[in-house]
Structure formats: C-alpha cells, structure tokens
Symmetry: C2
Subunit: 313 residues, 2 copies
Amino acid sequence: MRAGAVNSSGQVSHRLSLPTRANRGPEEVIERIVSTVLKVIDQVKSQGDWVEAVGIGSPGIIDIRTGTVVTSPNFPEWRRIPLKQIMEKRLPYPVFLDNDANAFAYGEKWVGVGKNVQSMVCLTLGTGVGGAIILGGRLWHGADGMAGEVGHMTVKPNGLKCNCGNYGCLESYASASSVVRRVTAAIRTGTPSIILNLADGDLEKITSTLVYQAALKGDPLAMQVMKETATFLGIGIANLINLLNPEMIVVGGGLANAWDLIYPIAEDEICRRAFLTLAKTAKICKASLGDDAGIIGAAGIACFSMQDVSCAF
Amino acid sequence: MRAGAVNSSGQVSHRLSLPTRANRGPEEVIERIVSTVLKVIDQVKSQGDWVEAVGIGSPGIIDIRTGTVVTSPNFPEWRRIPLKQIMEKRLPYPVFLDNDANAFAYGEKWVGVGKNVQSMVCLTLGTGVGGAIILGGRLWHGADGMAGEVGHMTVKPNGLKCNCGNYGCLESYASASSVVRRVTAAIRTGTPSIILNLADGDLEKITSTLVYQAALKGDPLAMQVMKETATFLGIGIANLINLLNPEMIVVGGGLANAWDLIYPIAEDEICRRAFLTLAKTAKICKASLGDDAGIIGAAGIACFSMQDVSCAF
C-alpha cells in the first residue's frame, strides 16, 4: 500500500509505501492503514500545512454511499468492511472511499491528461482490465456502484476463457496477464521465441515487459501476441466510442508501457470500427500520472466528493 | 409522419398521420410538418385546452444545442437544417428537437416501462438497431450528440458486413432487416423453409414477422436465424450491463414483437456473460408504448428539456 499527502494542485509529498500483508486479516491491515495515514498527517502538520480530507482507493467492489468494501478479489476476508466509518472514528477528517479503477480516473481527470475533459473512459491494462467512466464531469458508478467493467465486454463470443467464467472478454486479450498467459502457452507447445532467453529460460519469469521487448526485437510470437492484444483493445475502445461518444479514452496499467507498439495497431482498428465523427472527437491518450497515480487518484476521490455532495450520480 | 397532442400524463389525442414525401425536398416536408402541427394545435385549442411546447423526434444526426438536423440517412437532402429555428418562427411555442431513438427513450422514461427508473439503455430493433442511454435520469448525448450507437458495437470481429461498413456490428445480427436478409440469402442458396410459402412464394415479401411466425411453427431456418439474433442481442445487452450497470434495458422496434421467442434465449446469454449482481439489477423489458411511442417520445423531448434547461448533459 502507498500513502502520501497531495496538495490542491495534485502535487505529492511525504510518500510512504509498505507491504499490505493481506493474509493477516482485515483488522491488522486497517491498523496499518490508520497508522500510515497518521504518519503522513503528522509530517504534513509539522511543516505548518493542514489536512482537509482522506481519500482511499481500494481494490474490489465498493459501496460508495456507505464507504464499505463489499468484496475484494485479493482480500478474501474483506466482506462488508465499513472502512469509511472505521477510519472516521480514528481520524478527525472526512474519509472518502472508492475503488482503484475509479481512483485512477479521478486522478487523471483532476490533474492528469483528462484535466479539462468532461467525458472520458479510462482503462487499466494490468492483472485484469479495469475501467471507469466519467460523463458530464462526474464518475458514473451505476445502480450498484459497479459500472465500468470494461474488461468484461465480450469482444469475441467464442474466444478465450476469462477469469470471470465468460468467454472472449476484453480482459482475456488485453490484460498484461493475458499477454503472459498466451505467450507462455505458445512456448509450452513448442513455438520458438527469444522471450524464453530474455526470461533466463524460466517460463515463470515471463512478463508483459519482456514480451514487449521481444516484439521490438522482431520476435514473431511476441509480435503476433502484441498485435492481437492491440487489435482487441481497438475493438473495445471503438465500442466505447460508439456507445458513449466521449471526448477522451485514457489507457494505463502495466501494458500501457508498450504504448508505442500497441497504439498504432489499436488506432487502425478504432478507425475501422468507430464512426468517423466520434473517432475524431475521442482523443486516445496514455495515462499520465505514473507511479503516483494511485496516491493522486485517492486524493482525487476526496477532492471530487467534497465538491459534489450529491455524489450519487 | 405522425403528430398528436400529448397531455401532461402522456395521454395522446388528436392523432394525425400522413406520408412524409421526403423526395420532394426539405422545404415541402417542413411545410407539411408545420401545417400538421398547426392542425393539431387548432384541435387542442378548440376543446379549450392549451399548448405548452412542441417536440420533434427526427431520424438522423441532430445537434440538440441548436436544434439542427445535421444529416439524416433516408433524407439525403437534409443537411444542416435548423428545424427548431424554422419552426419557432412559424409557431408561438418553444420547439424541442432530438433524434427518434432518443425520443423513444424519453417516452419510455416519462410514461412507459422506465417511469421511475434513473438509468436505462433503450434499443430499437428495426431497419437498424438504434439506441439511447439515460443515466442519472438524464439522456446522455455525448460530446457530439451522437452517443448511444448501440447497433454499432462489434459483437463478432469477423462477422457479417454492416451497412456502416464495419464487420460484426450488433445491427448486422439483431435488426429486423438483418433477419430478413439472412433468411432470404439462405433460401436463395437452397435452404428449405416454409417462410417462402408464408410470403406467397415472393422473396421480396419476407418480413421479420413472417420469420417469427415460421419459427413458432418449428421451421428450422427461421428458428436458427431467430436464435442467432437473440444470442447476439444477449451479448450486446450483457456488454451494456457490464459497462453501465443500469437499472433497466428496454427493447423496442419491429423485432420486439417476437419477444416471447427472443427473450429467453437472450436472457440465457446475458446470464452467461454479465456479472450476476449487475444482471440481477438490470430488468430487461419490452417497450410499452406501442404505436404511440413516436408521438409520446417527441412530447417527452419537450417535457424533459423544459424541466432541465441545463440539458447539455
């Protein structure tokens, strides 16, 4: 977990980072969150600055109305944890909670590439494909607070099996993990590739970054998998453009590091499938906040929620 | 074209309907719109009632800010026609203009199946597949006023060619026209079917209603095409549910008359592909306004626009 102080211009200071240790259960993790936040607050105050609010970006399903972590995929013991309420008992500040994909979107909207943009869809290509939708300047949470599941749009009806149980989700083609999975499977069945050398001969060490590097060196398997990834990303983005006619699409997450390779292929597919007027309007941008995205995004949650108390939309 | 008076409860009276005669050019069509609207207004007034506003639902791309018909597929001569402005010069009432799919959504939201619903996506399965998105109780028009192109979501990357030039759009599988096209093509290549008998042996007379009737009688070709149609409709709806987490999906248009056949198959596909919580939330409903949908929807445009002057969202 990472924490930091963010000023009203989105500048980060007093960064702290420490292992989450999810296996020790919610109580201990919450204790560590509280003590970390208190440390940052002390540092801010010791410099004569003040604190307005605390924002938290958490993985999983969040009920933003009550500030509860409903479930969280990598934290199996977290079920209906009223994190906002617990934190507000321990801290003399309002606490705002949302999920990490929404935090990412709030950050990019607040001080990132989407600064003056009123409508945008954000995608994070990491372990999965996360998503968040901002319309009319506000995050669209949906009826259950679960809108934005861009990664589970079907892009190939009889395609690869997804972790969600469905077949042919965008996530099965455009997540960093799916790139590694497809490359590893191909190497196992004997497809020659330099990726294995780059991973010191260890299939377990293959990462999407190594696949990207191999593709840049002209490795046919790496190029084919990256091309497939970018094509399906393009199909997904074209669908979002035709549906929502947004001003911007922001792509982040680990796989966005391969942007120079992925973008031209995705763009071709978008031009082929989205209406021309809409495709011209929608700027496709790489996320801009880098390592601080999580911290700025969490602060963004607090910032936007305080501006807009009628935050149900 | 159809016109009518709609009271504040959405009840229709003084219906008039007449051929559009689009081939005679915009001036004559506008003249016919004005005289028809004036006739309805006279009838309303002669009964001692009064008129608040005029709403128009038009096919094509509409700039709602200026009330201009930008282009309209079946009206090639209509280019940048400032219909609102022209009408307001001729009528002593405010005039509101939007496209026909949005009008359909306004109608269902106002007095139809979506009456108390804050978030819903509407699909019309007709010549094409139209769409409209209502979020937070308001129609989402998008950055260019063209959001809601549900019919041009790719549901099968290398699928059938669509009228838009793309391949595998929802419209190529789930419009009433596409049903007729696929059935006709299959019969031409020798697939046996009772549909041709139902159409008096004339391929040109095949309609989606006849295909539906043949499917009910167990005709294998009709059943296969209707199943494919419903499956892709289900994929499209599952995508909308995962993306937007709406309270309701409303399906209208000619093909919705085959609802009892289509719905169970589409529902299976939705359950397979959408997240369970979201699928439980989203009620899938057949449109409720029937023949009056266009008239009520047009009045709905006026009704919602007058309630909400900050209608940019």
